[in-house]
């Protein structure tokens, strides 16, 4: 057999691949934003007094966490038009990523809120802080600090998961790679290189998250 590896196709496709990286990053960032909103709203609903609301949130979290993302995105792809949302594949992908990430975010954020001791909140009120201040300085910031590592880890997972959105041909790195592959038939070279692009993206995110953590959360605990 005489197959020789030829990475020149990757070099020629570099601009398209880098734009694919931009696509992946914007898809992931939009998905993260939606996931955070679902996460915060979900935590509020999860601990509400209405039992039916709690049941819905618990059911949502369990269903999302115990089914594959691929099946979820296919389901949404066909379900969203039925409820009147005729979206392009990329918007569908953002919703799917947000819904999936949101379920994990609910569990993580809830853990953080529960880590805040009740006496701490009472102490805040006793010091004369009003409700908004207590929430912002006594609940939100320490809770965010507590969950920061698992939340950012989850975000990196979400970014890597976004590669599955190529299955509905959303615009991101993997679908760009698939197009280049079908043009050039250099499957291994293209995917091998793109894998390292993803590695670079996750390193970049890790670095960014570390910088943010250093900037906002490096105050002493006691």
């Amino acid at each position: 057999m005489g197959y020789t590896l030829d990475f020149s196709v990757v070099w020629h496709a570099m601009p398209a691949l880098l734009w694919g990286c931009v696509g992946t990053l914007s898809l992931a960032l939009a998905g993260m934003a939606l996931a955070m909103m679902i996460g915060v709203a979900g935590v509020a609903a999860r601990d509400s007094r209405a039992a039916w609301l709690r049941a819905i949130v618990i059911g949502f979290v369990e269903i999302v966490r115990n089914t594959p993302f691929l099946v979820q995105i296919f389901f949404l792809f066909f379900a969203l038009p039925l409820v009147g949302l005729k979206l392009n594949p990329t918007a569908t992908a953002i919703i799917a990523l947000g819904v999936n990430g949101g379920a994990y975010a609910i569990e993580i954020i809830r853990g953080g809120v529960q880590s805040i001791h009740k006496g701490q909140v009472e102490a805040g009120y006793a010091l004369g802080l009003h409700k908004g201040q207590v929430f912002r300085f006594i609940v939100l910031k320490p809770a965010l600090r507590a969950i920061y590592p698992s939340l950012t880890g989850q975000f990196i997972m979400l970014t890597l998961t976004s590669s599955i959105c190529s299955a509905v041909s959303a615009y991101e790195l993997t679908s760009v790679a698939q197009r280049i592959e079908s043009d050039t038939f250099r499957s291994f070279e293209v995917y091998f290189f793109v894998t390292f692009l993803y590695l670079a993206i996750s390193w970049l995110l890790m670095l960014g998250f570390a910088v943010v953590s250093h900037r906002f959360f490096s105050y002493p605990m006691r």
């Binding site: 057999m1 197959y3 590896l5 369990e62 269903i63 966490r65 115990n66 089914t67 594959p68 993302f69 691929l70 099946v71 979820q72 296919f74 389901f75 792809f77 066909f78 379900a79 039925l82 990196i156 890597l160 998961t161 976004s162 590669s163 599955i164 190529s166 299955a167 993997t174 499957s187 291994f188 995917y191 091998f192 793109v194 894998t195 390292f196 993803y198 590695l199 996750s202 390193w203």
Partner: protein, 218 residues
Amino acid sequence: MTPHFGLPEFGFLLRGLQWTMLLTLVAFVGGCTAGLAVALLRTCGHKGVEWITRIYIGMFQGTPLLLQLFVVYYGLALTGLKLDAFVAVAIGFTVNASAFLGEIWRGAIQAVPRGQTEAAMALGLHYSSRMRDIVLPQAIRISLPATIGYLVQLIKGTSLAAIVGFIELARAGQIVSNQTFQPLLVFGVVGAMYFILCWPLSWWGSRMEARLALASQR
């Protein structure tokens, strides 16, 4: 005329489910074996070896499973071996599992109190006996919730074999959906099948985690 979603279609999905389970089983068993080796190398005390295994684990954690599958799938094709699609994707999932389980067990091995190792050394036990009889039995207990968690990840991950064309549950769902034009029903059923497979495991894992947390509080 397009067929409706009926018993034959359901049977087809069930056969897909069988392949999903078989693929998970093969990858999990293979991944456990290779993952143990990774975990032991990662904690062996030799700086260079530890670095290499650390990079190995980092590569799998920092890249999408889908791309790992593509690389293994097309990479194996390049070697000229005529491999069955099942074998190719099974190898892909096994390699991925070896890295993730290796990292989980690395953490568990290091979570076993150091005094245990020191006491075993003081008793004159050599490395293999120390690991086999003292450290690993305790580490396995610690790692069980995370290992079960990874098993659920793996079951869900095998759905990506659908994108490479191997007919397991998710791919079977795509095929039936294209035949019947009832995507919501079909993917609803497919999702329910995954759920039935994964949810008891998730529940078992979180219950065990709660019990271990309680035990470590005492």
